[in-house]
């Protein structure tokens, strides 16, 4: 044998080795396209950490019925076009059986058709109601919808006899979508929206808009659909201008970062959010307490960052998927059917009861009304 043919043989053996390695038929491949960087990184970053942390834990315990999970993640940077490209790659090259991801409503909506066409289950981690309404056969989601947030806020306003309100919303996807939902349901709660203002996602001063709201007579409360820096600036400008009516924020700011940024101005702000943020303050009788506490502790220990509800949505999505695979195996069609049959699953966002017509499975009871007191979350009810 010449040295050259030995080399060839070695190369062949190496190639065979790698293909064998890549095949690893035993692994269950799960995809995740997340916005780990970019403007939605504060959502995508804890989501990615959560998925990696729990996949590692499941694999360390022997996987799902002896089969390990192989998690394939891509970072779309918050760009819907990139997200779609990665989704196609997950389907065509990585050949995943299911996907947990889609950090924002925009990326989710652009990826949805890819998974619909490929007939693979897709559990989204984004908020807007449009993801599951109209319903798509293969698309599910774990966070509460923006419509529920509106309903929860209006319910609370009604309880406090606040019926004439102003609204200032971000023009980002989340803010716009929630604004539209609020405008659809306000009449049902007998709440009248006197004035509306908007701001761009990167704006740094909202005093003109708030000055106009302040000038409206009879305004009893203000609601601010939005996420990212906008709501923190709105909250600070709100106090700067000396507005004293109650201010309601959305679940889009349900992270410690909001309180840090808004500082003292955040005190007194109310918002609907998952029980996760107040895990330690829940009454011992609350069935959600152990799940929320366990996740919060694990996340905080592993990342040294305060827990946010966003990572919790990733936990819920992964566990619903794992549950479905445990019950029915790793065939995409079966997984889809099993996800739809998820009943009484206690997640960080609440109790999930999926049905053929409800691909989110949460009801209003999953939301808690929180108030920020002394720079910390407190239960408002």
């Amino acid at each position: 044998m010449t040295p050259r043919s030995i080399l060839k043989l070695a190369a062949l053996a190496l190639m065979a080795g790698t293909t064998l390695g890549a095949a690893k038929a035993q692994d269950i491949k799960i995809g995740a396209v997340l916005s780990v960087t970019g403007p939605a990184s504060f959502l995508g970053d804890p989501e990615e950490k959560t998925l990696k942390m729990y996949v590692e834990e499941i694999n360390a315990k022997g996987g799902i019925k002896g089969r390990k999970i192989q998690l394939i993640t891509y970072d779309d940077g918050g760009d819907a076009n990139k997200a779609r490209t990665f989704a196609t790659r997950l389907v065509e090259e990585d050949k995943v059986v299911a996907m947990v991801g889609g950090t924002t409503t925009g990326t989710t909506m652009s990826m949805g058709p890819v998974f619909e066409d490929a007939q693979l289950p897709f559990i989204s981690l984004a908020g807007a109601v449009v993801i599951v309404e109209p319903q798509k056969k293969w698309v599910f989601k774990t966070p509460h919808t923006d419509r529920m947030a509106c309903e929860k806020i209006f319910e609370d306003m009604k309880k406090r006899n606040l019926t004439k309100i102003g609204m200032i919303s971000g023009t980002d996807g989340f803010g716009k979508s929630m604004r539209d939902e609020c405008v659809k349901v306000n009449a049902r709660f007998g709440i009248e929206i006197l004035a509306e203002e908007t701001y761009g996602p990167r704006d740094t001063d909202m005093t003109p808009q708030l000055t106009n709201l302040k000038g409206k007579s009879g305004m009893q409360a203000v609601i601010n659909p939005g996420f990212g820096q906008g709501p923190a600036i709105v909250t600070r400008n709100f106090r700067q201008l000396g507005l004293t009516v109650p201010l309601y924020q959305s679940h889009g700011v349900a992270s410690k970062q909001f309180i840090d940024l808004a500082g003292d101005a955040a005190n007194g702000v109310r918002l609907p959010a998952a029980a996760l943020l107040v895990a330690d303050k829940l009454p011992a009788s609350d069935p959600q307490k152990p799940v929320a506490q366990a996740y919060a502790k694990k996340f905080q220990d592993a990342t040294k960052q305060p827990v946010s509800t966003f990572g919790g949505h990733a936990y819920d999505g992964l566990m619903i998927l794992v549950g479905a695979i445990e019950r029915g195996g790793a065939d995409p069609k079966v997984i889809r059917d099993e996800i739809e049959k998820t009943k009484g699953f206690m997640g960080t966002a609440g109790i999930f009861n999926m049905t053929a017509t409800d691909h989110m499975g949460l009801d209003l009871s999953a939301f808690k009304m929180l108030e920020i007191k002394n720079g910390d979350w407190a239960l408002a009810e």
């Binding site: 203002e197 740094t204 005093t207 820096q229 923190a232």
Partner: protein
């Protein structure tokens, strides 16, 4: 009515001051080298981020500010030495693309060295608003406006009175001629990058208590600063300042008086209107000789 007008105007001036300083930074480098430096917004980001992290590490605020300015200046020089200088014979378009690349690199580094979260600084003179004729104004807004005014004055003095400033102008006018009369043009270009980076950083530090900072704030600021530059007139430092303030005022006044949804559109309509009447900008020279 007056209170409302004052509130809108102050808001517009504060927002506009940042655009103005970014525009000024563009102008300094453009005048010295003919390069439009699109990494200008990143200097603002570096100023804010370094200060935030230094303060968090226990460095007293004044020291943290000096540190941030120094870091930005060094990054500015580094950008010039490592990215612009090696390609100095390339066409302006290539150089502009290099600066965009530089901005991406700086953003990526910031993401790794710092993090991806939003950060804030406490106001230098507290966060309690001051009442002025019915408008409530944050003391920090006065810091921003005052700081901008001082920076503009110092930069004008620098160009008019100092030898180095004149050397920068000479290099801008004719690099070869400046070299012939003994100006070390390479050093002068490095100085203009450092100066531009330093004033960007100062702007970043001044506004962070109001606007927060983030590894990506530079992107939007570079665009708005560039818009300010075009509006005011490319190459004229006072034009950049005027353009920036006008852009800020347009945005906030139309948010207040017309519609917050279309405020950016109104700002752009004003810009297009000005450029139709005066294609070289408000204070631009009649002929754009350098283009």
């Amino acid at each position: 009515m007056l209170a409302q007008f004052l509130q809108f105007t102050m808001s517009g001036l504060t927002v506009g001051a940042v655009y103005a300083v970014v525009g000024l930074g563009f102008t300094i480098i453009y005048n010295a080298s003919g390069v439009l430096n699109f990494a200008q917004g990143e200097f603002v980001m570096i100023g804010g981020m370094v200060t935030v992290f230094a303060v968090a590490a226990g460095v007293p605020l004044p020291l943290a500010i000096l540190l941030a300015i120094a870091v930005a200046a060094i990054v500015g020089i580094g950008l010039h030495r490592l990215a612009i200088e090696p390609a100095r014979d390339a066409s302006p378009v290539v150089l502009i693309i290099i600066t965009i690349g530089g901005a991406l690199v700086l953003r990526g580094i910031a993401q790794l060295v710092f993090d991806k979260q939003l950060h804030k600084l406490p106001g230098f003179s507290g966060d309690t608003p001051v009442n002025f004729l019915g408008a409530s104004i944050l003391p920090q807004a006065l810091w921003v406006l005052g700081g901008t005014a001082i920076m503009v004055a110092l930069v004008s003095l620098f160009f008019a009175k100092t030898m180095i400033g004149k050397a920068v102008l000479a290099t801008a006018a004719n690099r070869l001629a400046a070299q012939l009369v003994g100006v070390n043009t390479s050093v002068i270009l490095a100085i203009s990058f450092a100066l531009s980076a330093a004033i960007g950083a100062i702007a970043g530090i001044l506004v962070t208590p109001i606007t927060f900072t983030h590894y990506e704030v530079g992107t939007m600021l570079a665009l708005k600063g560039f818009a300010a530059l075009v509006l005011g007139g490319l190459g004229n430092p006072m034009g950049a300042i005027l353009g920036g303030l006008l852009l800020g005022l347009c945005e906030q006044l139309s948010a207040g008086y017309i519609s917050s949804t279309y405020k950016d559109a109104f700002a752009f309509i004003v810009m297009i209107g000005v450029l139709l009447v005066r294609p070289s900008g408000l204070l631009g020279s009649k002929l754009a000789e350098r283009v």
